[in-house]
Symmetry: C2
Subunit: 111 residues, 2 copies
Amino acid sequence: MSRFAPLPEPPYYAVIFTAQLSKDTQGYAAMAEKMGELAASQPGYLGIESTRDAGGLGITVSYWLDEAALTNWKAVSEHLYAQKMGREKWYEHYTLRVAKVERAYAGPKGR
Amino acid sequence: MSRFAPLPEPPYYAVIFTAQLSKDTQGYAAMAEKMGELAASQPGYLGIESTRDAGGLGITVSYWLDEAALTNWKAVSEHLYAQKMGREKWYEHYTLRVAKVERAYAGPKGR
């Protein structure tokens, strides 16, 4: 399975979530996998890209059709529980940015 | 040094660059470091967040004040050379998305 999200025609939304894991990551991996699957089943989901280094810094960018899709996903009850666990246990620090994608392309060209 | 970018007041721009390294990464690490320093010296630079896993999938998000800052950085001559090396040698695949940040926050709250 590709680790790249599709490239639909803009505009659409990106949620850029950067997070440093804490030392207490018990239950994190299973929850992250579950949330990935749950997100993919939501209306307006376009795709996700995610990576994390050995130091525990991860960047996950999820892509969504419109504001309604973002609002829906943020409020899904199992996701609310995961957010709470993240705040209270798994994340030492995080930033979340909502951004409207204006243009996009893939490469390398000519290969 | 923090691996998180600052949170200036939106709107501003995010360049979301997701890339899978190829097997030929000779010279890549040194160039990546150099480009990070060069980007930070450009007008309109706001910050950068970057991480890569052991499989070679990296996500780098750089933040910029406005379109003029993006256009300038894309055309800096040393950066053009790095882009060419990326296309021809270092990257198996990549996507680049330009997005306008509408809102942002950090957490966890209440700690």
